[in-house]
């Protein structure tokens, strides 16, 4: 009896690890944008929702190959991120933070309403199911394994880009001293636009992974938007490494908590942990 117990616990821990990878990817784009531009995209999860619809329609309605539909969806959401910056964020770049929150919050409701009008409220399923992988007595969802692998690859690629390229270095530099970027020959407006498109592209990647696991509907952003935001806050907003760690911690609370009690309890425990951390380490898990 105790042996079986252990293997199910191990399965829960490993499933938590897989979920952590997905959550890490979700938090990546939001963190990047906040770290560089200092504006929180409250509507981040709604961008993901748009990406999910893009994959769905291209694949199911227009019969594009799935890989191509996903690439196009990433492009679409990158474009949305760029548009969001140029037309919504730019005018309020130097406004009060509360106004910036309200503006992107407005975009959240706009996108939800627009999606409802355009796509209807029914849940749409991609109809693709990846086989699950068995490991001894344990079983893992194929979609989650793919999500985990992609998320890790995305994190590593972004890290290398930020470390090794001129553009990436400029993206890190601009968050430290916006005022002197022109003296380096860098146009800050251009860096902001690129960062926004990159944040959108990351949301697009997340959309491709989520659409394999969940049905799309106009309000789906609400089911993971808050978690994404909490993970970023838990890791320290703008701290990408912190967000990465926080995603895995949070996912373990959900998975292991859900194992000992019930799935819903996993979330309750995770949020209680979040609230406790806000008292204990308000500036993030890794804050000094």
């Amino acid at each position: 009896m105790s042996e079986i117990f252990d293997i199910y616990l191990l399965e829960a821990v490993l499933n938590g690890l897989l979920l952590g990878g997905l959550l890490a990817l979700l938090s990546l784009g939001l963190n990047l944008v906040f770290g560089v531009i200092d504006v929180v995209w409250i509507c981040y999860a709604e961008l993901i929702m748009c990406g999910m619809y893009a994959v769905y329609y291209l694949y199911v309605q227009y019969h594009w190959p799935l890989a191509l539909a996903m690439l196009a969806a990433i492009g679409v959401v990158a474009l949305l991120g760029w548009l969001l910056h140029q037309f919504v964020i730019r005018p309020v770049l130097n406004a009060e933070p509360i106004n910036q929150l309200l503006v992107t919050g407005g975009v959240l409701f706009f996108l939800q309403a627009a999606a409802t009008l355009a796509f209807g409220i029914e849940f749409k399923n991609l109809g693709v199911s990846l086989p699950s992988v068995r490991l001894g007595e344990m079983s893992f969802s194929g979609a989650r394994l793919v999500a985990f692998g992609t998320a890790l690859a995305g994190v590593v690629a972004l890290w290398l880009f930020l470390r090794k390229s001129y553009l990436g270095t400029a993206i890190r530099a601009i968050s430290q001293d916006r005022g002197i970027m022109p003296l380096m020959g860098v146009n800050p407006a251009r860096i902001f636009a690129i960062t926004s498109a990159l944040g959108g592209a990351l949301a697009g990647v997340a959309a491709c992974l989520l659409v394999l696991q969940y049905d799309v509907h106009p309000a789906i952003g609400l089911s993971f938007g808050p978690i994404t935001f909490l993970i970023c806050v838990l890791g320290g907003l703008g701290n990408m490494f912190g967000g990465f760690v926080a995603a895995f911690v949070f996912a373990q609370f959900i998975a292991v908590g859900g194992f000992f009690f019930a799935v819903e309890w996993g979330y309750v425990i995770a949020f209680v942990f979040f609230i406790a951390m806000m008292f204990w380490r308000p500036r993030g898990i890794l804050a000094k």
Binding site: Y166, T169, A170, R172, A173, Q176, D177, G179, I180, M181, P182, L183, M184, G185, V186, N187, P188
Partner: protein, 232 residues
């Protein structure tokens, strides 16, 4: 090489420069000296287009700087070491230098070598976050970052500010070496005695106006300088 003609500039309702004219010829080292708040920093910020002049003209290398946006000034050949150094504190020393070469990436490796030859200390500290360098090292790093673009004209804003006296000596020694390397330098300083040993000509800026100009020796010998600034 650089001609500033009748420039008036400021912030908001406030003017910091009135009808300022000055000139820097190729190969020269020129200082703008004057007390705190005279408009020295504003002058450099106008030249690198961080602020638009209200009136007057800026010519560099035979072309007007008027249509050039701030981020295109470096490519024209002007590098600006700003007041308080303004390094990117969480980037390493070498990453700061890489930012200096943002517009001239192809020459990066070669320039890095040249700059490290001039600042061996920075090579030792290359992997350290710039915020953890000592004051003198930070100033070296800021100057090195500007040199990475191999500018025709180097603007230095108070390189000695906030440094210990011993370090100030070494920074001025460095400025002297940079001038000797053939760079054209426009330097803004409050440390008048030291800077006048390094440059050939100087302008005295007071309350936003150029009140005296001439060779370093003449300016140093001027009675108002002797009395007001050197306490003699």
């Amino acid at each position: 090489m650089l001609a500033v003609r009748n420039v008036t500039a400021g912030y908001g309702d406030f003017n910091a420069l009135f009808d300022v004219s000055l000139e820097v010829r190729a190969g020269e080292a020129v200082a703008v000296i004057g007390p705190n708040g005279a408009g020295k920093t504003t002058l450099l910020r106008v030249i690198s287009k961080l602020i638009e002049p209200r009136r007057g003209a800026l010519d560099f290398d035979g072309a007007s700087l008027a249509p050039v946006p701030a981020h295109a000034v470096v490519a024209r050949g002007i590098a600006h070491v700003p007041e308080n150094r303004r390094l990117f504190p969480r980037l390493t020393a070498e990453e700061n230098l890489r930012m200096g070469a943002y517009t001239s990436r192809r020459e990066y490796a070669q320039r890095l070598e040249q700059v490290y030859a001039l600042f061996p200390r920075l090579k030792e500290r290359r992997a350290q976050p710039a915020g953890t360098l000592s004051g003198g090292e930070q100033q070296m790093c800021a100057i090195a970052r500007a040199l990475m673009s191999r500018p025709k004209l180097l603007l230095l804003d108070e390189p000695s500010a906030g440094l210990a006296p011993v370090v100030v000596q070494s920074i001025f020694e460095l400025v002297r070496r940079i001038c000797a390397e053939g760079y054209t330098v426009l330097i803004v300083e409050q440390n008048i005695r030291q800077v006048l040993k390094v440059v050939g000509r100087a302008y005295l800026l007071e309350a936003g106006r150029i009140v005296r100009s001439g060779s370093a020796a003449d300016v140093l010998a001027a009675p108002e300088i002797q009395k007001a600034y050197l306490g003699l």
